[in-house]
């Protein structure tokens, strides 16, 4: 077995100078079409932006810690929450799921690479370029003098605030253009994932033997195809309006700002499921392994995922209960929205049933997944509250909404991403992450998370709207906001511990071996880190847990699977 280690490239006869070696090393990363390297690039890129967008959140929290604060000017605050949201969703969320997917999907289905390796590289670099374009807005626009022109129109960028008349600079252009560019990258990644999962499976890997993570990447990619594209279309219209003087969203010419809202949320709602579905996939890999049991109700899990994707395309206007739809329209979206709870409930129950009767090892990945289960339950229930249209008329655009979606995005999505890091880091680097630092990371993040986002529910119900750079002292929100900010800082510390853990363990971590968790999917059958070609021979599988079959020859899975 070739012991190819990452990241040092093949050696040369004559030892080249240090600088030349560094250049060559960088070069291999730039020209690479290997799905593992591209996956790592995606992930590193997303981690960097997690810190950036997190730092923006910290700045916002400092500004809001006390009433009438002057830490950030109104302009900067508005830019920061727009950039925070946009960055977290597009540069962190989308890139990290496609990064993890890139790394794992071929390994999990026993393939040697993605279906279109060069398209894969192209997609990554498009995404990377889009992100850089977005962030260049901080220096761009009016030049280096004074303020930059970062987007400041919220991440849903409602017309007509985005029209030339109301945002004359280039702020909005940066937002639209960079997301269009990123959109193409994402589209490429989604197409590639679908083609890989459908056409590159190893012998015996039927659709219903694929690991659930792969299934969820399929569903997510399918959903991406039909959600990112409407955003691209709407943003093209916006750019046409802004540059060619057209009137798509121009109220004066009879255009309807409402149309933008529909287009945005036709994208925006399924988008949040695009993020959460891979997180479900991660949970569906981690929970069985640490409970030492097969996933409960695999077919139902697959069906529920597909069901969520379908239903989620019909619910978008639950973000628009206050825009004055007809009562019948409101009623329809109440129903469709609540129906998402049914397949989602199935998933939650199946995870709990998987843990039931198991022997649960609470290693760090499992800690994060357990917290995810709890937080996602809460997040879903606040989602149901928001879906009650009349109540939504009160809660919409208040901090209650912010609390709901950070429960889903931080409390569920990011928690699962952290679980994925602790679970697969050994595979990617060959070394374990420190469990001790991991526990610190988990507990601090957990406490900070709850301090911040539990409290936000209350301040929202006490009438605090979102997107405000400051608030009056007499509203009774001050103390609550102070604690919210404290929680934010605790989360920040936890993330720094995590970052330190990544670096420290890379250098000094314990050697992992092929299969540190005693797991069951194909990626654990190859060395850590896997060689460039992944599998020395093409694997052949007979069940959903090929390594279980291997470890329990008398009692293999394929005897029982339904």
């Amino acid at each position: 077995m070739a012991d190819q280690t990452y990241p040092i490239p093949g050696t040369l006869d004559i030892a080249p100078s240090r600088g030349a070696r560094l250049l060559e090393w960088l070069h291999t990363w730039v020209v690479t079409v290997d799905h593992k390297k591209l996956g790592i690039l995606y992930i590193v890129y997303a981690l960097f932006f997690l810190l950036v967008a997190g730092a923006e959140a910290m700045a916002m929290r400092i500004q809001l810690a006390v009433p009438n604060n002057h830490f950030l000017s109104p302009e900067v605050f508005n830019e920061f929450f727009t950039m925070h949201g946009t960055t977290m969703v597009f540069l962190v969320g989308m890139t990290i799921i496609f990064g993890i997917g890139n790394y794992l999907v071929p390994l999990m289905i026993g393939a040697r690479d993605m279906a279109f390796p060069r398209l894969n590289a192209f997609s990554f670099w498009m995404s990377a370029f889009g992100g850089l374009l977005l962030y260049s807005s901080f220096v761009g626009g009016f030049g280096l003098y004074g303020v930059g022109s970062a987007p400041d129109v919220t991440w849903w960028a409602y017309a007509p605030l985005t029209a030339k008349a109301f945002t004359p600079g280039h702020n909005t252009d940066y937002w639209a253009l960079s997301l269009i560019v990123m959109g193409f990258g994402t589209l490429g990644a989604a197409i590639n994932t679908l083609a890989t999962a459908f056409s590159m499976r190893c012998r015996g890997m039927t659709l219903f033997r694929m690991p659930l993570f792969v299934w969820l990447m399929i569903v997510t990619s399918g959903l991406t195809l039909i959600t990112i594209t409407p955003l691209t279309a709407a943003q093209v219209m916006l750019i046409i309006d802004r540059y060619l003087g057209a009137h798509f969203f121009d109220a004066q010419a009879g255009g309807a700002p409402i149309v933008w809202m529909h287009f945005f949320w036709i994208f925006g709602h399924p988008e949040v499921y695009v993020l959460i579905l891979p997180a479900f996939g991660i949970a569906s890999e981690v929970i069985p392994v640490f409970s030492r049991k097969a996933i409960f109700g695999y077919p139902a899990m697959v069906a529920a995922s597909v069901g969520i994707a379908f239903v989620s395309t019909t619910v978008w206007a639950h973000h628009m209960f206050t825009v004055g739809m007809t009562s019948v329209g409101n009623t329809f979206f109440v129903l469709s929205t609540m129906m998402v709870g049914i397949p989602t409930g199935i998933k939650i129950f199946n995870w709990i049933a998987t843990m039931w009767g198991g022997k649960i090892r609470f290693a760090t990945p499992m800690l994060f997944c357990t917290a995810f289960l709890f937080q996602f339950l809460c997040a879903g229930l606040t989602g149901i509250m928001l879906a009650i249209a009349p109540w939504n008329w009160q809660l919409h655009n208040s901090y209650f909404v912010i609390a709901h979606f950070h429960y889903t995005l931080t409390g569920s999505f990011i928690f699962c991403i952290f679980a994925a890091f602790y679970y697969w880091y050994p595979k990617v680097t060959g070394r374990m992450l420190s469990e001790k630092l991991g526990k610190w990371h988990f507990w601090l993040f957990f406490i900070g998370f709850h301090l911040t986002f539990d409290t936000m529910h209350f301040v929202g119900m006490l009438g605090m709207p979102r997107s405000i750079y400051t608030y009056e002292a007499d509203r009774g929100w001050s103390t609550l906001n102070f604690w919210i900010s404290m929680g934010g800082l605790i989360q920040g510390v936890a993330v720094l511990i995590f970052a330190w853990n990544l670096i420290h363990s890379y250098l000094h971590g314990q050697e992992a071996g092929n299969d540190p968790w005693d797991a069951w999917t194909l990626e654990w059958s190859v060395p850590s880190p896997p060689p460039a070609y992944n599998f020395a021979e093409d694997p052949v599988v007979r069940s959903r847990r090929p390594l279980w079959d291997l470890k329990h020859p008398q009692d293999p899975d394929w005897k029982y699977e339904r």
């Binding site: 197409i191 083609a195 056409s199």
Partner: protein
Amino acid sequence: MSSVPIFADENWRLPSRGRVGMFSLIIGESAIFTIFVVAYVYYIGRSTYGPTPQILDVPIFNTICLLSSSFTIIFAEHAIQRGAMRRFAALWALTMLLGIEFLAGTAIEWRKLIFDDGLTIRANLFGTTFYSLVGLHASHVIVGLIMLSLVMIFTLLGRVEQRHAERIQVLSLYWHFVDAVWVVVFTVVYIVGR
């Protein structure tokens, strides 16, 4: 290394990745077109001033050209499958000609609209939605033509062979899609919207 239990699954067939990829692309593109079509339909009759859709002439000849190019490309696919490379080249060229005719027709139509009828993209909502939707489709025709001409060049260089039939089929899926979209655009713009 992999000592996973080996067993022979007799016929292990997987769909072609080219086809899966192209179908995925088409689904994505359809969503883009859907949004533009919805915008067009929503704004029918909502312009408060300026030219109205009555000024449009139905581009029958253009439509016939574009739609028949779908047939010529099917014949070309058949030709390459049978290895009839000359026939393939001829049919491929014909397909491209039909596509180019369509573009030329659109150009002439737009010229009339802009200079005779004063309909520009900033004229009113009709202009905005009309040029965007028809233009979006035209840009897809252009992309299609670029890909067709790459194949044409390689064909003339003798680099395209019978074994490439599968790839040619995948490419022509895209061309069929562009044609199918035209049917929708045509119906919406020239029949429903007029």
